[in-house]
């Protein structure tokens, strides 16, 4: 016997306690609450699927779900492609490359709030970007005051912050692309563009699927960028609110409708789990190729 029977449980106790109390229990509690009319003050009666019926007829829910979906669809393509191009630029070891790589990673280090505030200032109606627009002869653009532009501006911030993060993932993958493939293609007379599509992209497909999946899940969960760029309002009339923002605003505070917020959370969870399962499936298919 190498240890007493209860020893492993002493090792596990803190970790298990945290996960059970603050992840697993709230998760099941959320599912139960979704079928009640619980308020922030507690209590709540079982109301069957009332919350879900209400959701189906709630224009705010549909707008928020649409915004989250648009957000996901908007950020995935640039986050799959642009960091790959940057990684290819930063891959070759040339003098000073360490400084460049470090600098590209800086937006990842800065917290989301800092990044959000920096861009709120850049995209202000009188901010730096609009000064440039005016200098070029254009008129000021309401990046933060128009609900569509606000969504697009937030996507730009998400993409900007993701460049360095996904670049590092691509750098690791690029290091594993066999060199002789490139050399063979060069001997065959393939130019750089041709080599990119027929050598680099096929060898990086699993990584690209991974990046697409990570950025899709994170895109659908978006909260901070839109919250900060809109100053916490979700845009004019709340028109740019996302699903997570809606859950936060419905469920929070003394007037919080905990039951309805939980039903919204169930929908969020199902969608995110669906995305995750699709990813796993895609990954498995990639492995078999």
């Amino acid at each position: 016997m190498t240890h007493r029977p209860y020893t492993p449980w002493l090792f596990l106790a803190p970790g298990l306690a945290i996960c059970l109390l603050f992840v697993i229990f709230p998760f099941f509690n959320m599912i139960v609450l979704a079928f009640t009319d619980a308020s922030a003050l507690g209590g709540g009666q079982f109301t069957g699927v009332d919350n879900f019926v209400r959701m189906a007829g709630d224009p705010k829910f549909w707008a928020a779900a649409r915004n989250s979906l648009l957000y996901m669809v908007g950020v995935v393509p640039p986050l799959v492609l642009l960091p790959l191009l940057i990684a290819m630029l930063a891959q070759k070891v040339v003098p000073g490359i360490g400084i460049f790589r470090t600098a590209f990673f800086t937006p990842v280090i800065a917290s989301t709030v800092v990044v959000g505030l920096i861009w709120t200032w850049l995209l202000d109606s009188r901010g730096l970007v609009n000064s440039v627009v005016e200098a070029l002869g254009g008129t000021r653009i309401g990046f933060l005051t128009d609900s569509t532009l606000l969504l697009i501006s937030s996507m730009v911030v998400t993409v900007w912050r993701g460049l360095g993060y996904y670049m590092v993932i691509y750098l690791a993958a690029l290091a594993n692309v066999p060199k002789d493939l490139h050399e063979a293609a060069m001997v065959d007379g393939a130019g750089p563009v041709r080599r990119f599509w027929s050598v680099t992209v096929p060898s990086l497909r699993p990584t690209m699927v991974l990046v697409a999946a990570l950025s899709a899940v994170n895109g659908f969960r978006v909260f901070s960028e839109i919250y900060l760029l809109s100053g916490g309002t979700g845009g004019p009339g709340g028109a740019s609110t996302t699903l997570v923002m809606l859950i936060q605003s419905v469920g929070r505070g003394l007037t919080g409708e905990v039951g309805y917020a939980s039903a919204l959370s169930v929908v969020l969870f199902v969608i995110l789990l669906g995305l995750l399962l699709i990813t796993l499936k895609l990954n498995r298919r990639e492995d078999q190729l």
């Binding site: 709230p26 490359i97 917290s111 200032w121 690791a172 909260f223």
Partner: protein
């Protein structure tokens, strides 16, 4: 040869363009933060007429930015310690001890990873209220105190260690705790650094949960303190800029000190997450 020079020049041009895009916004924020009260901050001028650090003192007069920073630092430090210790202990048990129920424990951690925080945050708030912990920094720390992902990272690190050394220690009569602290833990320092770093960053960055669970300004962490500062003093961008620079400088210093671990962590996190 000439062509090689041309392509190198193009590469540097591309690198410089990306550099400007990555660093430019920070630079502009910094420049804004050192512009004096008589200078128009809306004029796109990267060189301040009369640079001053007065805004850094002034921002502390309107909101307690240093106490926000202290709250953030406290929360992040506790997070680092609990994650390193708790995840290492649990990971060690999963990887190195044989017992009934090991599968069950592993399933709990694995399924915890699949639950997105955003889906349970309202329910989590009720749990904290049940414990009477709302509006405390303890409530900010607890949900992420031992992240399931870190437990699995540590488990993988311990699994990769050769079994022979520990078998010898068992014969010498070392108990599980001694084997953990004296043999296993020193061999996984690299992974521990990654866990520490990312726990710190995650905690320093966290916005949504403190926003939900904290209500008194004096308990604010830096992230929600800054959002509050922006909401209240939006007319003076110099102050908001100074606040953001205060929030970002410690992280940039940390990053410059521990660069290679960051990049390793991103790789590992991507494969595991």
């Amino acid at each position: 040869m000439k062509r090689a020079h041309g392509s190198l020049a193009l590469r540097y041009l591309g690198l410089l363009a990306i550099l400007a895009i990555s660093i430019g916004p920070f630079l502009w924020q910094f420049v804004t933060s050192i512009k004096g009260p008589n200078e128009d901050v809306f004029v796109p001028d990267f060189v301040p007429d009369d640079p001053t650090f007065g805004n850094y003192a002034a921002v502390a007069d309107v909101v307690p930015v240093w106490s926000f920073a202290l709250n953030s630092l406290g929360v992040a430090s506790v997070n680092v310690v609990t994650n390193c210790l708790g995840a290492a202990m649990a990971g060690y048990a999963l990887a190195r001890l044989k017992f009934r129920g090991r599968r069950f424990a592993a399933v709990i951690f694995a399924s915890s990873i699949l639950v997105p925080f955003e889906a349970i945050m309202i329910s989590l708030f009720l749990v904290m209220r049940g414990f009477g912990l709302t509006n405390t920094l303890t409530a900010v720390v607890l949900p992420g105190a031992i992240a399931a992902l870190n437990v699995l990272l540590m488990r993988n690190a311990f699994l990769a260690l050769p079994a022979e050394v520990e078998e010898a220690a068992i014969i010498d009569g070392a108990n599980a705790w001694q084997r953990f602290t004296r043999l296993a833990l020193p061999s996984v320092k690299g992974t521990l650094v990654v866990v520490a770093l990312f726990s710190f960053m995650f905690s320093w960055d966290d916005f949504l949960w403190p926003l939900i669970v904290l209500s008194d300004q004096e308990k604010y962490t830096l992230t929600i303190g800054l959002a509050y500062l922006q909401g209240t003093f939006v007319q003076n961008q110099r102050l908001v800029a100074a606040g953001t620079i205060i929030a970002v400088v410690p992280l940039i210093l940390l990053f410059l000190l521990l660069q290679k671990h960051f990049f390793r962590g991103v790789g590992e996190g991507a494969i595991k997450g």
